[in-house]
């Protein structure tokens, strides 16, 4: 949370600067399988965030000594393009990007059945092309789809969304100005089927009550985003079949 000059983030009608209600998500667009050379990929637009995620693997571990005997090593790089933010960002990885690479990996790794590929690596790349707050959550949403697109066995998809507090009120999915001028930010990554939280961070100031409210709000939004992820996968792998071809395909697989 940075500079806090007095700016009204919620107007008298209870609407936010971009016209949203307190509990409204920004528009989200998802696309799976957008890159040619990566084993799996996905693209997300979440509000004005534009993020590309790609997966290579499972592939041979290089150097060999990083390999684990009983499971795949998952590697993750979160990076922001220099032109992605208001002020040009130096291409060299910042401490923030290093921290985010870690927490993002720790949110996706629990969903990957890495025991299936011992002694190999699964490499995840998240490139933020345009940033408008909530990039780590949107990045996780896209990366999870990229993992599915690569055919890597997953326990389930992971959806990400942040909640926060602006002008003293708990709100969902902060935009950039709300993050900069607001009171608190709470990014969350969630897996609905197993009711598990893989990423949880917070900065700002909130009472225990506000925190619990914000957490519930973010989790609900993650459920919605999860359904969008499943739709995006279904669209990509939509299968047209009539009964005769179906038999042929089934037999061929045997």
């Amino acid at each position: 949370m940075g500079n806090k000059e007095q700016v009204q983030l919620i107007n008298q009608n209870g609407l936010r600067v971009d016209g949203r209600r307190l509990d409204e998500l920004r528009p989200i667009k998802l696309e799976v399988g957008v890159l040619n050379k990566a084993d799996g990929s996905a693209y997300i637009e979440h509000g004005r965030n534009k993020i590309l995620a790609a997966v290579f693997g499972p592939r041979e571990a290089h150097p060999k000594h990083i390999a684990l005997a009983d499971r795949a090593v998952v590697r993750c790089r979160y990076h922001m393009a220099p032109f992605s933010t208001d002020e040009r960002k130096s291409p060299a990885p910042s401490r923030r990007e290093l921290e985010l690479s870690k927490v993002i990996r720790e949110s996706l790794e629990p969903s990957i059945m890495s025991e299936y590929f011992p002694r190999s690596t699964i490499d995840l790349f998240i490139e933020v092309l345009q940033a408008d707050a909530g990039t780590r959550c949107a990045g996780i949403t896209a990366a999870s789809l990229a993992l599915a697109d690569a055919g890597i066995p997953l326990r389930e998809l992971v959806a990400g969304c942040a909640a926060g507090k602006i002008d003293g009120k708990v709100v969902l999915d902060l935009s950039d100005v709300e993050d900069k001028k607001g009171d608190a930010d709470l990014p969350v990554a969630y897996m609905p089927k197993s009711n598990s939280i893989g990423l949880l961070q917070m900065d700002g100031s909130m009472t225990e009550e506000e925190l619990k409210q914000a957490l519930d709000m973010a989790i609900n939004a993650c459920r919605t985003i999860y359904e969008m992820q499943r739709d995006a996968l279904r669209q990509k792998y939509h299968i047209e079949r009539d009964e005769s071809e179906r038999e042929e395909i089934e037999e061929v697989k045997a």
Binding site: E60, R119, A148, A150, G151, K193, V252
Partner: protein, 193 residues
């Protein structure tokens, strides 16, 4: 595709990495030559090893042969997986009919999960491809396919047909459409038999 099975959610790969199985026929490329064998890239998460003892040349004569004279770096081969488990890298052999160095032809690389579609029900698809293009086609279980014909144009048509099958694997009436595409393209070339 993600699906709920009981209380587990499983994502079934509509495409996925090639995990070797014993007895698989694969096409691979030599990436390194060691003391007693070759390291072979079989386009899997694990590099494969072809020991010199698993080549037909080995032990033929008492003179120690330079491994390089059998396979050099970058050489392509058809091999069979003889060993593989979670604790070590796959082991190959080229002792066997039809196995060994590839010296001619074209290679198509598709996702290994589509190989059954290339073969087709009771081999129907691959038989059609071979007949209509006049080429010999060897599909590796690892998604690498070797096409050999007398005529490079025929080989090219066969390769195009293979990529078409990969793209449209999930659709109906594919065999007929591929056959039609091949016949159309074959009109333009002189066929060598």
């Amino acid at each position: 595709m993600a699906d709920v099975v009981g209380n587990k959610v499983i994502v079934m790969p509509v495409k996925g990495a090639y995990i070797p199985r014993i007895d698989d026929i694969v096409l691979g490329r030599v990436t390194d030559i060691g003391m007693s064998g070759w390291q072979v890239d079989i386009y899997a998460p694990y590099p494969a090893m072809l020991p010199a003892s698993e080549t037909p040349m080995h032990g033929r004569d008492s003179v120690r042969r330079d491994l390089r004279s059998i396979y050099g770096g970058g050489d392509l081969m058809i091999a069979q997986v003889i060993e593989f488990d979670r604790t070590r890298d796959p082991l190959l052999t080229t002792k066997g009919r039809g196995l060994g160095k590839v010296t001619s032809g074209r290679v198509a690389r598709i996702n290994n999960t589509k190989i059954p579609r290339i073969i087709g029900k009771k081999g129907s698809m691959i038989t059609m491809l071979k007949k209509e293009t006049g080429t010999d086609i060897i599909p590796g279980q690892n998604g690498v396919i070797l096409v050999t014909g007398r005529n490079p144009d025929q080989e090219l048509i066969a390769v195009e047909a293979i990529y078409m099958i990969e793209r449209e694997a999930h659709t109906t009436g594919l065999t007929e459409r591929v056959k039609a595409m091949i016949l159309e393209r074959m009109k333009g070339i002189t066929v060598g038999q």
